[in-house]
């Protein structure tokens, strides 16, 4: 059985007042200047490279980190690189109140844990979730816990297809599991 929960350090993409940054688009996540790159290993260095205040993210990120962002994360382009750049950095989980449809699919299909968390904005604004906090999230039950702040929260559990793809690794492996 694969892991169905993750514990890691969180990065909260918020402004100085603690308000989560909304509508972060794929050019801010992974700029179109690097769309020609097809090797995932090369993509990590450009993650959040066009998001003001976060351009040094690839240097700060450690494997297993969690990212929290505002609503409509991943707006804009269909580029898979905007997911792959986080996979390259071994970021483990993405949390946001909502995502662009394409971005969400791309993450699900890559077997990258992407979860909706409706109360993320109030947690961040109330300083119950800050950079560097140690956070644990269970992908199936939807239970979240901030160990640093001793505070529970909840996320939408993975849907059936998301869980199935995650279990198999990605959409390709999932397809093969039923003969496609």
């Amino acid at each position: 059985m694969d892991t169905l929960s993750h514990r890691g350090r969180i990065w909260v993409l918020a402004d100085k007042s603690g308000k989560l940054i909304e509508d972060i688009d794929t050019d801010q996540i992974y700029h179109n200047a690097f769309l020609h790159i097809t090797d995932i290993a090369e993509m990590g260095q450009y993650a959040l490279g066009n998001l003001e205040g976060w351009k040094d993210f690839p240097k700060k990120a450690r494997p297993g980190d969690i990212i929290a962002a505002g609503r409509n994360f991943g707006a804009g382009s269909s580029r898979q690189q905007a997911v792959d750049c986080f996979i390259a950095l071994k970021v483990a989980v993405l949390l946001a109140p909502s995502y662009s449809s394409i971005y969400f699919r791309n993450a699900v299909n890559s077997g990258f844990p992407i979860l909706r968390c409706g109360e993320l904005g109030s947690l961040a604004a109330g300083r119950k979730l800050e950079n560097g906090d140690e956070v644990e999230v269970d992908f199936l039950s939807g239970k979240g816990f901030n160990l640093t702040k001793n505070c529970a929260f909840s996320v939408d559990p993975m849907s059936g297809v998301q869980r199935d793809i995650y279990h198999k690794g990605n959409l390709f492996a999932f397809g093969r599991s039923f003969g496609r």
């Binding site: 909304e22 509508d23 688009d25 050019d27 801010q28 700029h31 179109n32 200047a33 769309l35 020609h36 097809t38 066009n50 003001e52 609503r71 409509n72 707006a75 804009g76 382009s77 269909s78 580029r79 898979q80 690189q81 997911v83 909502s98 662009s100 449809s101 394409i102 699919r105 791309n106 299909n109 890559s110 849907s159 059936g160 297809v161 990605n170 959409l171 390709f172 397809g175 496609r180």
Partner: protein, 416 residues
């Protein structure tokens, strides 16, 4: 309960129940990849499915539009990777001479009412303009679609957007679209399918329908449909598909998550100021903002009618010295019509730079990039910070862009 347009299209492509919130396995009629995403699809395919056949090569295409012809060695390599794959598997390539993929799929009659079309273009949902379910997807999805002809999809809720009232020229479909971005923002139709109705959209030409449906992406919607269709738009669509246009319409008792009314009576021209397509104001409020350059083109405003509208403003006038106006027709077919009807000559004589069909600068292609401090006014669909360079981009319709380039600052044709 009855079904909405999106539910009917999905239902026609799945044996699962196509109800909002349900995840279904859906057949895909057309699957495509561009010079962006395409090379990643090839790489994925050769890694995951080496030696295995595609589900249907007659339904699988490459369309090169992002960097056409290649302006960097990387893009030249990437395009050739796709061509080689296409030759090996016997696929059609709409190469760098053809123009924007979504528009080419429409002109070739491949994108059809009630069909499902996917590709590596987030503006694939522009095909809602012809009653097709177009959807942009990443390279993993598209690789899987090449191989299997299917994908999973969560059936979205639908929202009905009723547009009250009418408006007159020079207000255009782009102004209507920008105004809807202001009113609907990125929340109202987010992750939903929109059905736009009312006299102002019923009257739109196909070019106007494409403008509106293209920017549903910027509203964070899944797709937008315009169930009513005027005679001109119908005729143009039928000219491409060589078949009667009979898109699904929603059942009388279809379920909508929400109904929104927007008053567009006597709407004046609009413009979106940086840094977002929803930062929309009446263009008159921005009058006087100095500009350095203009861009007319993109999937949003790259049809014949868009350039004809600009040419009506530019004909017999000159673009202000020092202002660079860039013209990028959506497709070769559009270019041909512009050439035949003398529009290119009018634009050229006014001082515009006219280049070959493609996406232009939207995704850092050839034309429409800004340097630090540069202010551009564009008919494109995105003005996010840094997207087309370090300068600032205002979004507007073709008439406003043309007038602004004559005066050197944001203006409408009435200011000339």
């Amino acid at each position: 309960m009855g079904k909405t347009v999106i539910e009917k299209i999905i239902q026609a492509h799945t044996s699962d129940e196509a109800a909002p919130g349900k995840i279904v396995w859906m057949d895909l009629d057309i699957r495509s990849a561009r010079d962006f995403g395409g090379p990643n699809v090839v790489k994925n395919y050769e890694r995951e499915y080496a030696g295995l056949p595609l589900a249907d090569k007659a339904k699988t295409f490459f369309t090169f539009d992002l960097c056409a012809p290649a302006c960097t060695l990387k893009y030249a390599d990437n395009q050739q990777v796709c061509r080689d794959f296409a030759r090996k598997y016997g696929l059609e390539v709409y190469d760098v001479d053809r123009g924007i993929g979504t528009h080419v799929l429409m002109e070739e009659g491949l994108a059809r009412a009630n069909g499902t079309v996917v590709g590596t273009d987030s503006h694939m949902n522009i095909l809602g303009a012809l009653g097709a379910f177009g959807q942009g997807m990443g390279d993993v999805d598209i690789t899987f679609a090449f191989r299997t002809g299917r994908t999973w999809f969560e059936v979205p809720e639908s929202v009905k957007v009723i547009l009250k009232g009418t408006f007159k020229k020079p207000t255009s479909a782009k102004d209507l679209t920008l105004y809807l971005l202001k009113v609907l923002g990125t929340k109202k139709i987010a992750l939903r399918s929109a059905e736009f109705t009312g006299p102002s959209v019923a009257a739109l030409s196909l070019a106007g329908r494409l403008t509106l449906c293209s920017m549903v992406t910027e509203m964070a919607g899944i797709i937008g449909f315009i169930p009513q269709c005027g005679a001109d738009a119908r005729k143009e669509i039928e000219g491409y598909t060589k078949a009667p246009y009979s898109p699904f319409s929603a059942d009388g008792d279809a379920g909508y998550a929400e109904t929104v009314e927007v008053d567009v009576q006597d709407l004046p021209p609009q413009a979106a100021a940086p840094p977002s397509p929803t930062n929309v104001k009446p263009a008159a409020e921005l009058r006087g903002t100095q500009i350095d350059s203009g861009f007319i083109g993109s999937c949003t405003n790259g049809r014949f009618e868009d350039f004809a509208e600009a040419a009506r403003v530019l004909k017999g006038r000159k673009i202000k010295k020092g202002i660079m106006l860039k013209i990028v027709p959506a497709t070769r077919r559009v270019y041909e019509e512009l050439l035949a009807k003398g529009i290119l000559q009018d634009l050229f004589e006014a001082g515009a730079i006219v280049v070959n069909p493609g996406c232009g600068g939207c995704a850092e292609g050839h034309v429409g990039l800004t340097g630090k401090g540069e202010v551009q006014i564009s008919t494109g669909n995105r003005n996010f910070a840094g997207k087309q360079g370090k300068g600032q981009t205002y979004l507007a319709g073709p008439a406003v862009v043309a007038a602004s380039c004559i005066l050197g600052h944001i203006a409408g044709p009435e200011d000339l």
